[in-house]
Amino acid sequence: MSAEEKSMSIIVTKGSLDWAYPPFILATTAAAMGLPVTMFFTFYGLPLLLKDLNLQLTAAGNPAMKMPMMGAHMGLPNLLTAIPGVDAACSKMMKNLMNKKGVAPIEELRELAVEAEVRLIACQMTMDLFEYSLDDMIEGPELGGAATYIEVATQSDINLFI
């Protein structure tokens, strides 16, 4: 079966540093494998289209987030994640770790997605809700709503919600 006959869509709903990875990794890889790909950015996924990204993560409520440290894996108790500066420090640690391990920054994956002609749709309702305009966004996204996405989904072989 030829990959050219397959296509993929992804609904992107989360905009933290960690959650930004799965949609961009899958979109760029599928595009590299010859699939037409559409990404629909809604709610907290929408800020992933902003020109300036300063992605952060939080360890709060995430017991699985454990960083390798001095031969062990260390997590943070929820209470400590409430201390100002802790999320920023965790985010910085994660970015350093990613850099050390050769994981691409989201900015690079996003550029590669644009280059690979991944179709980017910014949810119009979310744009209104959070008061963004296309001027705030990188070059490339178009505006659309639920019907725009559903039309794409009916024509795609793989539809993911992330």
Partner: protein, 76 residues
């Protein structure tokens, strides 16, 4: 010798695949691309990539943590 070599050492998923796809664009049809990588996941990924895209994974090997792949680009 391959027509082109891509050094993807130190890069993690999905960069070796993305860079290979880009590099293949500059390889003539039925020409070859050699890829060097250190990501152990790249073995399964290059096999899948080649099955899906119709390019041929002619050989792959590992030596001292360096994975070497030789891909023949499909006919135009």
């Amino acid at each position: 010798m391959a027509d082109q070599t891509l050094d993807a050492k130190g890069l993690n998923c999905p960069l070796p695949i993305l860079k290979a796809r880009k590099a293949l664009k500059d390889v003539p049809a039925e020409g070859t691309l050699e890829i060097l990588a250190t990501d152990p996941g790249s073995v399964a990924d290059f096999e899948a990539f080649c099955r899906q895209t119709g390019n041929e994974l002619m050989e792959h090997s590992e030596d001292g943590g360096i994975y070497r792949f030789l891909i023949r680009k499909k006919a135009a």
